[in-house]
Symmetry: C2
Subunit: 501 residues, 2 copies
């Protein structure tokens, strides 16, 4: 084996393992750490982050990569991918001055605390300087990291590399055009799903048992993962054999927690399904945020919000919560969990209104970075867009412009991934049903193995061998195309709301 | 502030924080990690261990220390301690060739697996080569690390620095002389405590609640720590604000688990009580294994196996396990939990027989390293000594020479600390009662605050400012003296067994 390549692999594996350690102490911080240890943990994370940064920007790594880049064509596809991904990462890490990296990290930490307070007190004015400062730092950062891109494209590249704001605009405009009038139509329609029976008292231990069972049914391997409780649901862990999902329980709403578990299980199946013989190497890593989100939304929406899924689990759910669902049938349950209700909060949105929450944020971010919007005008623009897209105006900034944590940590350019993920999920689902025509029947029978295997084979084990654009083309024979999501949403919701009857 | 000293502090803090990270992923491995992640975790631990070793042996650290050692007298006691401890650690780490360190680490890992199997199959012959190989490597190690000491003294120094096998022999001989005939006397005495009511069914959740309450009562701060379940009870965690104890539950024996929790709480109070303004520096670290063990045994034995403690908690325990303890009184309960019963297993031994288990191992280790005992003769010598000291012969090596894990990981020289800790605990307890004459009353009233404060003040916050020898002298006005433990045990057990009545 090529000596330089061998050295590279050792270095990359070490970095991956140290990052795995970081993931565990971050998981621990959210799930198990005693509250009094916050300061000590911040110091530990900072020390480890320093080591990882040092390893990732080590000159010797750069030397190996320099030599290997020239010899790249002597290597197989997976090896080439390791070299290319390592080069990309190394370039990104070394192009940006350490001082700037530290300034952004410091602002993230400070910004988060300011945001928590500002959101609590409904004082956008306190948070505005943080956004202002981030715009400045992120401009500097973009000039170093992606000198050939626009500032917003550079930020998007962190989560969705190979995709530009211009491309996203084209896609999002199609969604807006189709979904805004459709949502209005549903809202004014006479038939509305009954959602009243979803309210009640649902004991936490029953919710946990149900969520665990369904997570296991759809393929989560509990010998290679865990399920716990945290303030915000997430999927973490240190390795494909150590994947950890969390949820939170609300005694008055079991749907929220259950679908959070299914969502996180979708992420977890991606991680557990990575190519096993390269688990500490870049080639096996998840592709982009959009593709990751496509996996969680695939299970949460395409599968678990389908009629077949409701049919399969209705009895089980009724047994878990006897009394609560006496008035419900499979049909009314299916309608209730899919009801379209324009609301203020993104994370509580249904499939149909969710994209508009994302589009609003995307447009605001784009205008901010392009200098077409000043930070002071954010709340007003937010509320105008909410009125235009969803017909409602947030009564406070707390449930408006201050609701999400993303900007407080500088994660500009992240939001589009949620909706790109939803579009991918829909296209993957269509491809699956074409290839495996029994899919609907299988879902109704609770037989998820062929679905999971198909995802493992076509997506999870492909790692970073292809770009997202290549991947969607290979799997669906087509590029990213929002019309599939539009068609899916329109036909699903037309049926639920009995539009044509 | 001295620039070199400032640099040293930054380096030491970084090392301490990375070690804290290591502690968390090790705790996670024992408590929360999914079983399938074992291999990935081993790789993560190895990567982090490599980083820590690199930091601890960094030449620049050596340069700072070289300059600071000369200027030592410009610094205050705590600063001097940081310099000295860092020097000692650096010398120890750099004196031993990396190859030898790796060989010992590899044998520990392999040795543990072989020991598990050999113990299971009662095949000492399979484990003997591991001991043989360790003796060889540990001789090489001692020649590098402590060239002026005997091999066994070098091994003891890892856990109990400043103490030699010769000194320990003098102490242990006194214990043997007093305890062996005394145990025999108790065994043949007519009056024997009734222990039958300690058997029964004790629901795990009741045990856990009781243990948690008592742990909190004696001072464990749950906002700076946790209590969980693991195969072997231990005290871990990453910082004085993140101290984690574990236990295991046996539905048929609540005493074992409860006293394990109290024992680990003793360790935890030491860690939680470290000097708060130097928590990532050597001066605040625990002193020796013996002193650490003195803190766990202080609570487990001196406090929690006292009559006053039984008086205070008897009602609570009876309420937790109604039915089981109907036949018991405070007196019979106190006698039962203290009953002297010579057995094969060290970790199940009572206060009186425990030292003899330790002495047996100490003598064997000493003879092995001094060349007076060959590995092949170990089982025979073990059984002879068991007969001589406790009057019983293990029916298998599994419950004899193979019972402990220590030798499988090369921890020779560790055992004496258990009994040195017991002696320290007794001397500290006597000093406490002299200083705070209300102690017995306080224990009976469940008022443990003055006791914990006294330990915080006199021991925990002293960190490494004194040697153990200086510390015991400061606190008790005397050197380590086993006669106090002998006196305590004889009078306690004479009363329990009604020897003079």
């Amino acid at each position: 084996m090529n000596k330089n390549y061998q050295n590279l692999i050792h270095r990359l594996e070490e970095i991956s393992r140290l990052k795995g350690v970081m993931s565990i102490i971050q998981w621990d911080q959210e799930v198990t750490m005693p509250t009094g240890a916050a300061e000590a943990r911040a110091n530990q994370i900072s020390a480890l982050a320093g080591v990882i940064h040092e390893r990732m920007t080590d000159k010797i790594l750069g030397e190996y990569l320099g030599e290997l880049s020239v010899q790249k064509h002597d290597f197989c596809a997976a090896e080439q991918c390791n070299i290319e991904e390592a080069c990309r990462e190394f370039d990104l890490m070394t192009k940006v001055p350490k001082q700037l990296v530290q300034a952004i990290a410091a602002l993230s930490s400070r910004g988060h605390a300011i945001w928590v307070q500002a959101r609590k007190e409904n004082r956008f004015i306190d948070f505005a300087p943080v956004i202002q400062e981030f715009l400045k730092l992120k401009r500097e950062w973009a000039a170093c990291a992606y000198p050939d891109s626009s500032v917003y494209d550079a930020n998007i590249a962190l989560f969705e590399r190979g995709t530009t704001a211009a491309e996203i605009s084209v896609i999002f405009d199609q969604l807006k055009e189709a979904l805004i009038p459709f949502i209005q139509e549903l809202e004014h329609h006479t038939y509305q799903p009954d959602v009243s029976f979803l309210q009640g008292y649902f004991p936490v231990e029953k919710q946990a048992a149900l969520a665990r069972r369904i997570s296991e049914d759809i393929g989560f391997q509990f010998d290679k993962g865990r399920m716990d409780v945290s303030v915000h649901p997430f999927c973490g862990g240190s390795h494909s054999t150590d994947v950890r999902i969390t949820t939170r329980y609300n005694e008055n709403d079991f749907i929220e927690s259950l679908y959070a578990v299914i969502h996180e299980t979708g992420h977890a199946l991606y991680e557990q399904g990575r190519m096993p013989d390269a688990s500490d190497l870049p080639v096996s890593e998840s592709l982009t945020m959009g593709i990751h989100e496509s996996q969680s939304l695939f299970w949460e929406r395409m599968i678990a919000r389908s009629r077949g899924f409701c049919t399969h689990y209705f009895e089980t759910i009724c047994t878990a919560f006897p009394g609560n669902l006496q008035r419900a049938t499979v049909d009314t349950f299916y309608q209730a969990i899919n009801a379209c209700r324009p609301g203020f909060i993104r994370v509580e949105a249904d499939e149909l209104t969710y994209p508009l929450h994302v589009i609003l944020r995307f447009e605001i971010e784009k205008d901010l970075f392009e200098g077409n919007l000043s930070v002071g005008d954010l709340p007003e623009v937010w509320n105008e867009k909410m009125k235009k897209y969803l017909g409602i105006i947030p009564p406070t900034d707390t449930v408006g412009v201050l609701q999400d944590s993303h900007w407080s940590s500088g994660a500009f350019g992240y939001f589009p991934s949620y909706t790109l993920g939803a579009i991918y999920a829909c296209q993957f689902y269509n491809a699956l049903r074409k290839e495996l025509p029994d899919t609907d029947k299988n879902i109704e029978a609770g037989y998820f193995v062929p679905i999971k295997n198909w995802l493992n084979q076509n997506i999870h084990r492909q790692g970073r061998l292809y770009t997202p654009q290549e991947l969607v083309l290979r799997i669906t024979g087509e590029s990213l195309n929002p019309q599939h999501l539009i068609h899916y949403l329109k036909s699903k919701y037309s049926a639920i709301y009995k539009l044509n009857t």
